[in-house]
Each structure stands twice: as C-alpha cells, then as structure tokens.
Symmetry: C2
Subunit: 164 residues, 2 copies
C-alpha cells in the first residue's frame, strides 16, 4: 500500500505524522487569534459576544432574542446580559413587538453601527497583518478554504474504525 509518492504515506495507515493533526494546528491558532484580538475588543468596551451581536444585527434585524442567539450559536440566556449592556449604551434598539409583546425586536442603532465599524476596522487590520505573513498563493487558498468550510451545513462526526 501507499506506493504513490505524491501523496506520501496515507494517514489511513495511521503511522507516521507527515504533519500535525488538523485540530492540533487549528485549535492553538484559534486561541492565539482570540487572545490577539482581545485588546481591540477591550479598547472598545465590548466582549466577543457583544461584537458578535453587533455584527449579526448589522446584517439584519432580528425578531426575537432566541433567534438571534441561535444565529450566533449562543445560548439564549447567555446573551441577555450582553443585550442589556448594548441597549444601555444605546448601541442596539430592543423593544417589544406591538403585535406580540412577548418577543423583542432587535436592531442596530447608528451608534451601534459606528462602533461595529470601528471595531471591525481594527480587527481587520490586525488580521491582514497576520495574513500578510503568508505567501500570497497560500493566503488565497487559506481564506477560500475557510469560506468553503464555513459554508458547510455541518461537519459530520468522525467515526472510529470498527476494531476500536
């Protein structure tokens, strides 16, 4: 098996590691990136969740907190303090729907939009500096691959071999 040279030894065999596992590459990178962006978020007085809310509401208003929470993959209880803060600072509009006063209509205020833009500009700048360290060809493939993976509906669970 595995005589094909261009493909090296297939990982299916499982022995030698031509490279670290994907997760071993991705997870530390994620942690490092989040850490690197924290100073920016702090400087603007928003948490990661708060920024996520601003981003999402900037795309489209939402008709309920639960729907917003699901959209950003957060627990509905988790974003409540976040919304409280953003609302108190006039960054989002949040009011009961007249048609059904149980649900809250959520949207971005002009100030919210301004803050989102300011934060995003800083973050983009930092990210571009990071990407600039990559060869142009790899950079394109990297971003395109991330977009493609992002577009996937889900990543199916890996299944252990039968002889586990």
């Amino acid at each position: 098996m595995a005589e094909n040279d261009s493909e090296r030894d297939t990982p299916t065999g499982g022995r030698p590691a031509d490279r670290p596992d994907l997760a071993a590459l991705l997870v530390p990178l994620c942690r490092a990136l989040v850490d690197a962006e924290r100073p920016v978020l702090d400087a603007h007085g928003v948490t990661m969740w708060g920024y996520g809310v601003l981003l999402r509401l900037g795309e489209t208003p939402f008709r309920s907190q639960a729907a917003l929470a699901e959209a950003i993959r957060a627990d509905k209880t988790r974003i409540i303090p976040v919304l409280d803060d953003l609302e108190a600072r006039g960054l989002i509009d949040r009011r009961p729907d007249p048609d059904d006063r149980r649900v809250r209509l959520l949207s971005l205020t002009p100030e919210g939009r301004r803050l989102r833009d300011a934060v995003q500009a800083d973050i983009r700048r930092g990210e571009e500096e990071l990407l600039a360290r990559l060869p142009a060809a790899d950079r394109q493939g990297f971003v395109r691959a991330l977009l493609a993976l992002h577009a996937l509906p889900a990543i199916p669970p890996h299944r252990p071999a039968a002889d586990a």
Copy 2:
C-alpha cells in the same frame, strides 16, 4: 462609496464585509472540528488532553510534568489527573528521576504508542474526508498556511486605532 467592484470596499476602510472576520470563520470551525472528533476520542477512552499527551510523548520523552504541560500549553495542575489515568492504564511510564527525585520521567509505553496510532488513524481519516471537500488547490494552500501559522512563535496582539 464603494464603487470599486472587484475589490469591494477594502477592510482597511472598515465598512462592508467582503467576507466574515477571520476569527468568525476559524472559531466555529474549531468548535465543529473538536465536536466531530469527540466520538473517536470517546471510543478510545481518551480525552483531548490525554490524546495531546500521547502525541507529545510519542515525539519525545519528557523530564518533568511541568515541561510537558508547557509544551502542550496546559496548566501543570490540569494534566495531573490526565497523567494519573494514562499511567493507571499502562499507556505512559512515569517515575521519579533517580538523579532528582522531585521530577518525573515521562515516556510512552508500547501500549500507549499503539493507542496513539489507533486514535490518530481515525482522526486522520475523518480529517481527510473533510479536506476532500475542498478544491485541491485550496486544500494545499489551506494546510500550508496552517503549518506556516503554526510555526510562528506568536501572534502579536492587534492594536486598536489611536482614536478608539
């Protein structure tokens, strides 16, 4: 504004998002990947940290738990229960250094190596299936970019613009 069509508005300007932030692409991907790999780890009875220890000790033995912890970016107190478990199952060797009985010499046993290989084979298979969904060109760039970023000593903190 934004009359340029091919490049849209540049992120430096900070207004409209030609693509999601890097972190917004990476973080959900990381979470999804870790979730996808959990069944494999469960099937083999190891945690993510346990697998990380097996991987690292497979590369080279360690002369102290603290050094191992730092190498896998874990807190030294965090891996103690992990090492307890791996040792009890005969997957690692862990004994006081005769020269300095404070430190523990850590290495992989043959069984540990076998388990590591089995787990890694499953994980690699799953990861290859995922990568197979990408265009070949992007896949190469993706992996190469990850390796390059992995090789960086650190990611410098992003800095907010002066007018924050």
